[in-house]
Symmetry: C2
């Protein structure tokens, strides 16, 4: 089983993929293909270069990962799992604190440590990288560079942990999605049915009509379906024109959910079903 | 009148502030205080160092500006206006295309030009700055540096426009908010009533109950109040726990709106009214 993740080795995506593989009790040990960015991971899934891809979708401090939401809309993929991973960002370097002139990391990680950086490194140059582990590899080159990355990246690339746990809020978790091509049969045995399922959809509403979104939520409310997330994202057609990303409890296999989605389909301009998958608790 | 904007001179925030001042027909010409980031602009407003602050809240390609949403929640401010500004990002440099080794800009601008950068500058180093105009000032130092910034930044800092219009989608607009301290009386004459108004609120729901959000939207739907935006943002307490940012048409001066908000207040754990302001068309 080949799994596409953000590279190089040591990224949080890889950590999520390992947690998933363990949980799914695959007899087939995962082999990782590393990609430079989220778009490339999606392309590898769509082209079937990999069996699965693991991508970050949401962080408890910084919110949704915009590029992942856009790619979920643009590609023919199915979500097969979600994995929640605790995030502990550390400041890593070969040098010592007084050497640091440049701090590197993924834009989401920089944002999650915004207050820390502003308080302690107000005038230090910030550079973005494709992943936190990529930042760690670059920081091995010069003493004056530090990376914001995981504890395991420190071990993997021989960097010192100058300051651990530097995110602005202690409760820091990222939710990852496991995706596969819509046209590829899953080789994973079906998950025990006692799992609680979630389903993700994208809808595009009939705009500028009072109550359009309300009518959508009505479908869920009258069937007592619990929404776990609703997020708007620009349609990129015009300012103020949105797609809605909705996650709710239940599987498309359930009669209630199936009928809710049928009704929904008649009320919206577009409905994209991204898949049903076991909830990660 | 002192107005706080992202600095240095030439930022899109300053452009928005100038458009606003012209529109409001102030006899009092605005004097700009420039700030390094959005948090500092909010602080200046709260401390009354400035009369008004102008901050970006939403872009038609990249979506909401997370830090602005967080600051709207955390500070005692009132929104007095919204201003929509067309964005045209250009690649600016002292040098020529073949010299470029480093591209600098604000993270939102880098994200709005993601495909352009990936196609033409895959291996070029990207650095983040506090604003696009800050990137432009830095690019004046070395031929090998380029900034993604506005056309007016090129003129202001004597840079060449190497490539104009580099954002990934042509429809690129940013919505800015004009904010003032909640405890400061506005010295702006009231706006003619023929303007269509918008109101912005933040609500925190009683979680994990099917239909909680639906009951909120019901208040708007049954009064035929048109929602223009609904956006979730992490509460930062736990993954999957959200605040909802809702914009709708109408002013708190209207009886209908007042009564909707009264009913809403009884249904939610927290309701923060950010203010009513004329819509920018």
């Amino acid at each position: 089983m080949i799994v596409g993740v953000l590279g190089p080795a040591g990224s949080y995506s890889e950590k999520a993929a390992k947690k998933w593989a363990k949980k799914m009790e695959h007899t087939d040990v995962p082999v990782f293909n590393y990609y430079e960015d989220i778009t490339d991971t999606f392309s590898a899934v769509v082209n079937k270069t990999v069996d699965y891809g693991v991508v970050p979708v949401e962080n408890s401090i910084e919110g949704s990962v915009g590029i992942t939401l856009d790619q979920l809309f643009e590609n023919e993929i199915t979500i097969t799992s979600e994995i929640v991973v605790p995030i502990e960002h550390c400041l890593l370097s070969k040098g010592s604190l007084s050497d640091i002139k440049i701090i590197l990391s993924h834009p989401q990680a920089l944002a999650q440590c915004r207050n820390f950086l502003k308080t302690h490194f107000k005038n230090t140059e910030l550079r973005t990288t494709g992943s936190t582990s990529h930042a760690a590899t670059l920081a091995t080159e010069f003493d004056e560079m530090a990376a914001i990355a995981s504890r395991s990246s420190a071990e993997m690339y021989g960097l010192k942990i100058l300051i651990p746990n530097i995110q602005d809020h202690n409760e820091n978790y990222t939710r990852f999605l496991v995706i596969k091509s819509k046209y590829k049969t899953s080789n994973i045995k079906s998950i025990p049915t006692e799992h609680l399922y979630k389903t993700s959809i994208i809808v595009y509403l009939d705009q500028n009509r009072p109550g359009a979104l309300y009518e959508i939520l009505e479908e869920f409310a009258k069937k007592e379906i619990n929404l776990t997330k609703i997020e708007s994202r620009p349609s990129k057609k015009a300012l103020g024109d949105y797609l809605f990303y909705i996650d709710f409890e239940g599987s498309i296999q359930d009669e209630t959910i199936k009928s809710a989605l049928d009704n929904l389909g008649r009320k919206v301009k577009m409905l994209k079903n991204l898949g049903s998958y076991p909830k990660d608790n």
